[in-house]
């Protein structure tokens, strides 16, 4: 039985349980609902819950664990002389899986009977062609031991699924009968159901933790795999980024530093645009602008934050790039070679970050109490002197926090740099030169690639790890600064 049908059966079980539980509760008090502890539906829900939830949890665990158990037991069937490294074993195992899947598909499609599939002989039938017909393409001829391993896998999966169905149905039935037995007029069904719902709520809240764990684990494992294939020292110290596309490893030099340089350079340009404009806009909106100006200008600036980054990317590539090229290119100053450059990406990213800086700073400036301003005016300071000498120092921790958050946003921004910054990694000071960033390289190394065995693909995970640590560090630092230096006003 497939997991899908098991789920349907369990659902049906739960529905029956609901009706029976409700009926039994009512029957136990001879239909006098006042004598029930809880509303009748709670009794039904309790039975449905106990029949369904434990079984489904076991099913979920089983679905995740079974492939691992079978994989490790089947890989013992592969003769050791066929492979040298773990990577080769993985390739063989994926062949085994595909052959097993293919045989199952062929049985499903009516090309083989069940017996034929279990006793198929590689010499007598052209297995590869047969599997090709059901849509499983194999790279090479099937080794006899692969075929036998695939058969072992098929039988193990079949027995595993059989046990799964039995175990699940037993658990569901047990839950069902326990709940039915419990059901009586005095039973506190509502408390039971509410405890269940509470568990569900906790599970939903824990998804945030699971996501973080997922991110960290997927980055760590693949990064370790990368460092096994490629020396970590080279990754951190080489000044060159030149992945080879032909062979595996060896010829590639995958140095982090040029990418990091490009990332930081572009971020600095972006911040040089965004911080002054954003900060001055925030000051003007908070201190000078009347309610009418504010109600128009603030949402207009925030529109910039709602525009998807792909739009900014296109804007960089097709509007700002050519514009800069016509001024700084060969017809102008002669500093710029192509449309893509640090300046192009940085400028557009700066525009994107303006509302980010301005609305955060605006909130912080507004949080400075009016009494401080009034005190300053009372001493004879002008409005701008008040802003510079009283308001800004009071708001400084918050503003620094906002700038750090904007920096982390700039480091992680992808589409603008993919489209506006160029593809060549370079260590250069000229801001009109094309450079590339960590995020752009993650995209180019992983796009359309499903083979994770080569260091050229795995390096993307190491880059992702770098990026994750950088942005996480900045966020934590920003929070720390805001918390530590925040002035508490009554």
């Amino acid at each position: 039985m497939s997991a899908f049908w098991l789920l349907i059966i369990l659902l049906a079980f739960a529905a029956v349980g609901f009706v029976l539980g409700r009926g039994r509760a009512l029957a136990s008090v001879n239909g006098e609902r006042r004598r029930l502890h809880s509303l009748p539906n709670y009794y039904g829900s309790n039975v449905a819950m106990l029949a369904f939830v434990p079984a489904v949890l076991v099913l979920a665990v089983w679905v995740v664990v079974q492939p691992f158990v079978i994989n490790s037991s089947v890989s013992n069937h592969i003769p050791a002389e066929l492979y040298q490294t773990g990577g080769e074993l993985n390739l063989i195992m994926s062949d085994v899986r595909r052959v097993a899947d293919g045989l199952d598909l062929a049985v499903k499609g009516g090309m083989l009977t069940t017996d034929e599939a279990s006793n198929i002989d590689n010499d007598a039938t052209d297995l590869r062609a047969l599997l090709g017909e059901v849509g499983i393409a194999l790279g090479s001829e099937i080794h006899p031991s692969v075929l036998s391993a695939a058969q072992v896998m098929r039988t193990q999966i079949a027995t595993g699924n059989l046990y799964r169905s039995i175990v699940l149905l037993v658990i569901a039935a047990a839950g069902f009968f326990v709940a039915i037995r419990m059901t009586s007029g005095e039973f506190r069904a509502r408390n039971m159901v509410e405890r269940g719902i509470r568990g569900l709520l906790i599970a939903a809240a824990s998804i945030a933790i699971l996501t973080t764990i997922g991110i960290v684990l997927s980055l760590i494992f693949n990064t370790l795999e990368f460092f096994r294939l490629y020396p970590a020292k080279d990754f951190f110290t080489l000044l060159e980024w030149a992945p080879s596309f032909s062979g595996r490893g060896g010829a590639s030099s995958l140095g982090l530093l040029p990418l990091l340089w490009g990332t930081l350079y572009i971020s600095v340009v972006a911040l040089l645009v965004a911080v002054p404009i954003g900060l001055f806009s925030a000051i003007y909106l908070a201190e000078y602008a009347g309610p009418k100006t504010r109600s128009i200008a603030k949402p207009m600036l925030e529109v910039l934050a709602g525009i998807p980054t792909i739009v900014y990317g296109l804007f960089a590539l097709l509007t700002i790039g050519p514009m800069l090229l016509s001024v700084f290119g060969d017809n102008g100053f002669g500093w710029m070679q192509g449309q893509r450059s640090v300046m192009t990406a940085g400028l557009v990213m700066g525009i994107m970050l303006i509302p980010f800086v301005s609305s955060l700073s605006d909130d912080i400036i507004n949080a400075v109490p009016q009494a401080m301003r009034d005190g300053s005016y009372g001493l004879g300071a002008t409005q701008s002197e008040t802003v510079r000498q009283v308001v800004l120092p009071a708001a400084l921790p918050g503003i620094v926090g906002a700038v750090l958050l904007a920096t982390s946003r700039a480091l992680g921004e992808t589409m603008i740099v993919v489209m506006g910054a160029g593809a060549a990694a370079r260590l250069d000071l000229n801001p009109f030169e094309a450079m590339t960033t960590v995020t752009a390289k993650i995209v180019s190394q992983l796009t359309g690639d499903s083979d994770f065995a080569s260091p050229e693909a795995l390096v993307a995970f190491a880059l992702g790890m770098t990026l994750f640590i950088l942005t996480l560090g900045l966020n934590v630092l920003a929070l720390y600064i805001v918390r530590k230096y925040r002035e508490q006003y009554e």
Binding site: L411, G412, F461
Partner: protein, 454 residues
Amino acid sequence: MTDAAFPDGAEGAAPRTTSSLLTQDTRTKKRNAAEARFRAYGIAAIAVGLVFLAVLVSSIIFKGVGAFQQTFITLNVELLEEKLDKSGTRDIEAIKKVTTFGYNPLIDAALAQAIADTGIENPFSKGKDLRKMISSGAAADLRDHVIENPDEIGKTVSFRLLASSRVDGYLKGRVTRESLARDKNLTPEHLDIVDALAGAGVVTKAFNTDFITGADASESRPEQAGIGVSMLGSFYMMLVVLACALPIGVAASIYLEEFAPQNWFTDLIEVNISNLAAVPSIVFGILGLAVFIQFAHLPQSAPLVGGLVLTLMTLPTIIISTRASLKSVPPSIREAALGIGASKMQTVFHHVLPLAMPGILTGTIIGLAQALGETAPLLLIGMVGYIASNYPDGVIEGFMSPNSAMPAQIYEWAKRADPAYYERAWGGIIILLVFLMTMNIIAIILRRRFERRW
């Protein structure tokens, strides 16, 4: 004592500089100038921001509007029986054997006829050269039509065929006669013909519905490319996001806001949520690649996987806004419900949640809008543009079969070399922004109409 008590020139007055409120001394002037400057900086900053916005919006509109217009050539094509159905039996299998190459001569003849009708000289002897004015997909359209209507063979039928992208560009002003000097695809003679045909009403511009409903086309046929299939991909992803992110986000917020005790576990969840909100979107793409595709073996490029990745990405947004709207429900509501004997759970689900619903929906729509515009994580899980070339065959296929999404399609077009695709990319952005604007306006209306101030 004030200065007024000592009139100017009075004896005993201190030998200080005379100052009046009506004339400013240099220091006051300086301070006032600094004040004016500071204020001007603020105005300038806002102006610069708004100018950027204006340039962005106007360049989107000016460059993108062209994509909604397309040049068509209306031709009377004679569907010759000896070319399309030699046996004359109208056997559909026999008709299907004629490839698109068999249809090209028909188009050539019709085009030559149309040119002759306008009265100008046809400088091209070969049909192949003449045909460059028409999209290379036109023959396939013709063939599809004939296979659907085999009884029209032998008749002369009027077709509205797509003009090639160069002709389209010429009529829109993108291609000029000078730029053709380096272009092997079209010559100035072609443009003379186009001018004549446009004068005769054979070449016309019309609204391009195919751009909105069509599929992506190959690199050499920008005139055929449309955003419809990837729009459907985006739609399925949004369904997944809505179905996963809304219940999970609301459940998580209810727990954190109403039930969670103050302990390390709650703190851990809070820290995680605020950190996830700041993780770059591309990291979520890496997570999706490693967990959903590498580990769970879900199909690559499927909208289902894209939707799951975007769900994880938008969850923090939805949780933060849901918590804010739960918090804004006054405690008196909860106390009243508890006071008449409702359990904590009943209080939350029967009273607090309905009152917080408008705020939750607003936050959800804004989260969805954010997810709709996201590109980078989709590229990593293989939802790249060129995949969107066929409509999925059904709802399940729609979730599981490889597809793209609107932003990824736009990115794909922007990468292609032909400038005709840039126009498509801008046009795609207009469609994307129309969706985003609609969603945001719905969110604003919801907030205005239903949000209660307590």
